[in-house]
């Protein structure tokens, strides 16, 4: 009995271990910010250098903070979806422009559409370090109380929106489905 049970159990444990382990994407590092207040920042706005964007601007309603740059290929991939999403008015989207050139970034938004309420201009990438950004595009879901609830690494698309972000937003709004 034990002679078959022990190896079988060990094998089952290994299968579960590898099944979950190999299904994880090693480039997605869980963010320690989830469940914590959004890191504070105070940056000039991209289009209007005289005005500031701070983490307080995000609070009060559920919002997305999307980290993007014109040099980032994944950001180009997700941009059309972001523009489309911003038109639905489902959630307000703010941008964190990461280590970019201001003129290039404004030209990109003028040419491709601007999904952002406003974009913060993080030229040196300091604020992005505070947010634990390691590769754009990254998107943070911040609740009305200013707490980070979810982070998506990589380009956003319809499917990720439908399966990862929208269910969380609905849960936060309390309408379940």
């Amino acid at each position: 009995m034990i002679r078959t049970l022990v190896p079988a159990t060990l094998f089952a444990v290994l299968v579960v271990f590898f099944w979950t382990g190999l299904n994880l994407n090693p480039s997605e590092i869980p963010s320690p910010l989830i469940g914590k207040p959004a890191p504070s920042f105070d940056l000039p706005q991209l289009r209007n250098p005289g005005a500031r964007l701070t983490e307080r601007d995000l609070a009060g309603e559920i919002s997305l903070l999307n980290v993007w740059a014109t040099w980032c290929a994944g950001c180009r991939l997700e941009h059309d979806f972001l523009v489309q999403l911003s038109r639905t008015g489902e959630v307000s989207i703010y941008g964190l422009n990461y280590k970019d050139n201001r003129a290039d970034a404004i030209a990109w938004l003028d040419g491709l559409g601007d999904p952002y309420r406003a974009s913060a201009f993080d030229e040196e990438g300091r604020v992005s370090i505070d947010w634990g950004v390691y590769g754009a595009p990254e998107t943070f879901l911040v609740d009305a109380g200013g707490v980070v609830r979810y982070k998506h690494i990589g380009p956003l698309d319809e499917e990720i929106w439908r399966t990862k972000l929208l269910p969380r937003i609905r849960l936060m709004r309390g309408d379940g489905g």
Binding site: S27, I129, W131, G132, Y134, G135
Partner: protein
Amino acid sequence: MRVLLAVMLFAAATAAIAIDDSEALADPVLQERYVRLANELRCLVCQNQSIADSTADLAADLRQQVREMLLNGATDREILDYMVDRYGDFVRYRPDFNPRTYALWIGPFLLLAVGLAIIAALLRRYTRMPVDGAPD
């Protein structure tokens, strides 16, 4: 001998590739701590390199952050905590021993113990077996 020579040549070759082109900190004690910390912290973009080894933009930014914190009198502990707060335990090659990393630290010893127990059980059974031809 030839193998040793080859190993030494390879070791020398890696040492010659200096990624970090920033000027050494004036204080040799700080510089020593800086080098140690930069080798302790993982580059998040190219995950199998430390920020000391990586040419990634982010690694350069994080090295700069470490240097500034050192110059401002931060302790090693404060600098490591700063990085872990932002990037998680994963940013350290030797994370703290805490509930999130118990499996990481204890797991290998647990597996070793299981393996040894299995070998011990097998050995015991085999030694009890009669040797071929000899009466029990």
